[in-house]
């Protein structure tokens, strides 16, 4: 009898050893954080609080999904925050131009996605066609997009005149906010793209070793280009949801710091900055972890000015843990 128990114990440890920490590390971190948080604050587990966390992370989370592809390709996109503001401004302008009705909302959505796609494509073309480092290119366009937003709005706000537009960003579907549904839906879509399509395989190959990819008849430049287009489209979606929720876009404030949150979610989710492999679901988990951390800091009354410090520590910690595993 005693033997049997010991045997089971041993099996349990063997099982624990067999867990692929590299793959499930972020999920384990999320579960641990969730348990700690539910003990730390009685309000944490309230349904309203949980849906709020999810809504808050879905804006940068959607961008982070696209950023996952860029980082897997061994690139980076720093321009996503400014791009959100610029596309958001264009969304509001389109909305107002068409009068703010249902048709106007439809046109605004199309304009948002289209402009996101085009701005992402501009990044992609400069990076792949002219062979400029992604860090430099997107640092440049980050400045350009913000400046154009300020110029167009004369440094004030883009204000929507529509009364029904906010329903999209504020609305609920089956008790969950609409942005959360979109975030989850896109996670599933991009996870399939990454794991089960040629493009997903190619982007990993390109990020892992560009030369091998080229010798393997993969169109390296086109593959990379599409990563920036994907992130651009996602920025477009976020810009639509954000402008709809606020029914306005501040030219100086909208999207600031989004690049940091998006990159952080990707890294906390276990995708390596060196490229070559990564996980879309990991990025979703990374975004939620960041959201819970912020939520807890708020509820424990930590100064909002200190939240950036904690976020920074979480990012560095996540990278250190990943390196230890190697």
């Amino acid at each position: 009898m005693k033997n049997k128990i010991e045997k089971e114990k041993k099996n349990f440890w063997d099982l624990l050893k067999k867990i692929n920490f590299e793959k499930y590390g972020p999920l384990i971190a999320l579960v641990v954080l969730f348990i700690i948080s539910s003990f730390a604050s009685p309000y944490f587990l309230k349904f309203r609080n949980l849906t709020n966390i999810l809504r808050q992370v879905s804006y940068t989370g959607i961008i982070a999904l696209g950023m996952t592809f860029v980082i897997i390709s061994a690139g980076i996109d720093l321009s996503v925050g400014s791009m959100t503001a610029l596309v958001g401004g264009i969304v509001i302008m389109t909305l107002n131009y068409f009068g703010g009705g249902i048709f106007a909302i439809f046109m605004a959505i199309i304009a948002g996605i289209l402009f996101g796609l085009v701005l992402g494509a501009i990044n992609g073309v400069i990076i792949t066609k002219w062979n400029v480092a992604p860090f430099i290119v997107t640092l440049g366009t980050m400045s350009i997009f913000r400046s154009l937003t300020l110029y167009i709005s004369d440094a004030s706000e883009f204000r929507s005149t529509s009364t029904i537009f906010p329903e999209l960003g504020m609305g609920y579907l089956l008790k969950l906010p609409i942005p959360v549904w979109i975030f989850f839906g896109l996670t599933i879509l991009y996870s399939i793209v990454l794991n089960h399509t040629k493009y997903g395989r190619y982007i990993c190959a390109v990020g892992s070793n560009q030369k091998v990819a080229r010798y393997s008849a993969i169109k390296v430049k086109l593959t990379k280009f599409f990563a920036y287009v994907i992130v651009g489209i996602n920025v477009g979606i976020t810009a639509i949801l954000l402008s709809s929720r606020l029914n306005s876009i501040s030219s100086s404030g909208a999207g600031t710091g989004y690049e940091l949150d998006a990159i952080a979610a990707v890294i906390i989710g276990g995708t390596a900055m060196s490229g070559g492999s990564g996980s879309v679901v990991g990025t979703l988990i990374g975004a939620i972890i960041l959201g819970i951390v912020n939520n807890m800091l708020n509820m424990m009354g930590v100064s909002p000015y200190l939240q950036g410090t904690v976020k920074g520590l979480v990012i560095i910690g996540a990278v250190l843990i990943q390196r230890k595993k190697e």
Partner: protein, 501 residues
């Protein structure tokens, strides 16, 4: 004259294990002062492990090392201090610094405790270079030097460190025959100045020429230590492998008449000049030449990696334009690259993902059919006898030979008619080599045509029915039948002879 019987290095029962696997077992030897001590053996025989114990990179699991009679617990710094220096295969020079800065890197002379004493360093560098009888300017940037000159700088660096024991690991693979002669003369000079040299090479002819004594290792074990005069090359090879090496190559297959590939007046600016040749159905066409002759560049031009400045390529008599690797795949051309880890395989991808990387569209409608991919990978693993603990293992954990087989399967999975092999046996052991030769044999028997690029003359002679010899970017001869021998190939490769037969 120095006393040739004085022992410089003695090893006693040296053994090395890596995670329980013994890679070096019980080596007891004495290296005498002032001799050139050759070490030969196949890949994985333990040559590198042995020298890495001597120069302190590895610590032995068991046994002792004595230097000039004293027991030493070797580490990298200690080895340098007592005068053991290694000329690495990959040079350890900083390209943006000039010669004297490299030689004095980390031990710069200073004046006034603050400023660099450049004059003194230049003067000293000149002295070292004069000892080596080379005419290199101490102020020249490393990036402007030829490979042979860089090697000289490495040797000068070692001399500057007051070397007593100089370890050379495959120093001649990057040199032209003339440069090899210069190197050998230099080695003789160094030996006469009381420096001892350990010389590792796969080129048995050179080993016989330059070494005083030769040690043979096999599977980490000591096989023998003989005077170089008492061994001929064949005997060396037999002892390395442990059996007679007659059946290395499969029998040759007669090629068809039909021309499957014709290259006409091909030029690539600065690399290739006026290349003309054809490949027949079911032929193994060898490409021989020295390092830098332009063979890899030619292959890369044919598969669309490099841009040609002029010239035409015909496949089955039809003119084709191949300006990207995907066009090459479409024209049923496969390429097995020389630089396996650099351009051949993805070391962080698993076996199935590597094998189906080029041919992925055959397994994809909208989504990848993972089951089909796995089945195909399993087929190749069985067919090529790929030793992998599981299909899901990343390639970085496989041995060089198994990586090469995966790389081969990856190219083959595109179902080519023309297969270009670029140094297919580089860095893999004899058994894997024979498997690859047999595989190529099977390919041509099934009607596939093969271009076989190799720097090993033995392979070219053993495998090919026709041999194209290149030198500095152009073809110097196309040899057939009884003209395929070492002398003829070397004459054309070095430019002594020119012209097709």
């Amino acid at each position: 004259m120095i006393n040739l019987h004085e022992v410089l290095v003695k090893t006693k029962n040296i053994a090395k294990e890596f995670s329980g696997v013994r890679v070096l077992d019980d080596i007891n030897i004495e290296i005498k002062k002032g001799e050139i001590f050759g070490i030969i053996g196949e890949n994985g025989a333990g040559k590198s492990t042995f020298i890495k114990i001597l120069n302190g990179i590895y610590q032995q699991t068991k046994g002792e090392v004595f230097f000039q009679g004293k027991k030493v617990d070797m580490d990298v710094q200690k080895a340098k201090n007592i005068g053991i220096n290694t000329i690495p295969q990959e040079f350890n020079l900083i390209n943006d610094l000039n010669v004297y800065e490299n030689i004095f890197l980390g031990k710069e002379y200073q004046k006034n405790r603050f400023l660099l004493d450049k004059d003194k360093m230049r003067k000293e560098t000149n002295k070292f270079l004069k000892v080596l009888e080379t005419e290199i300017d101490p102020n020249e940037k490393i990036s402007n030097l030829s490979v042979a000159q860089k090697q000289m700088v490495e040797i000068a660096k070692a001399v500057a460190y007051n070397s007593k024991l100089l370890i050379m690991d495959e120093p001649t693979t990057v040199l032209t025959p003339f440069e090899v002669k210069t190197l050998f003369k230099l080695m003789k000079d160094l030996v006469s100045q009381d420096i001892t040299i350990i010389y590792i090479s796969h080129n048995l002819k050179e080993v016989k020429e330059i070494c005083d004594r030769v040690m043979v290792l096999r599977d980490g074990e000591f096989i023998c230590l003989e005077e170089a005069d008492d061994l001929d090359e064949k005997e060396m090879a037999n002892r390395m492998v442990g059996r007679e090496l007659n059946q290395m190559f499969p029998s040759k297959v007669k090629a068809g008449e039909e021309k499957v590939l014709e290259v006409k007046n091909l030029n690539v600016e600065g690399l290739l000049e006026n290349i003309n040749f054809d490949l027949k159905k079911g032929e193994i066409l060898g490409f021989s030449g020295l390092v830098g002759a332009g063979r890899t560049e030619l292959a890369e031009t044919i598969i669309g990696i490099r841009e040609k400045s002029s010239g035409e390529i015909f496949i089955n008599g039809e003119k084709v334009i191949i300006d990207s690797p995907s066009k090459a795949v479409k024209n049923d051309i496969a390429y097995l690259p020389e630089d396996r880890q650099g351009v051949g395989i993805l070391t962080n991808f698993n076996v199935p993902s590597n094998i189906t990387l080029i041919s992925l569209k055959n397994y994809t409608k909208i989504l990848i059919n993972h089951k089909k991919v796995k089945e195909k990978a399993r087929y190749y693993v069985d067919e090529f006898n790929i030793q992998a603990p599981s299909l899901d293992i990343a390639l970085e954990y496989l041995s060089g030979g198994n990586q090469q087989k995966v790389s081969l399967a990856k190219s083959l999975d595109t179902e080519p008619n023309i297969f270009i092999f670029d140094e297919p046996t580089r860095g893999i052991d004899v058994n894997a080599k024979m498997e690859i030769f047999n595989f190529i044999h099977e390919l041509v028997q099934s009607g596939i045509s093969v271009i076989f690029i190799s720097s090993e003359l033995e392979e070219i002679i053993g495998m090919c029915t026709r041999v194209v010899v290149m030198r500095s970017g152009s073809i110097t001869g196309i040899l057939e039948d009884e003209h395929i021998n070492e002398e003829e190939i070397m004459y054309h490769a070095t430019g002594v002879k020119r012209g097709a037969i």
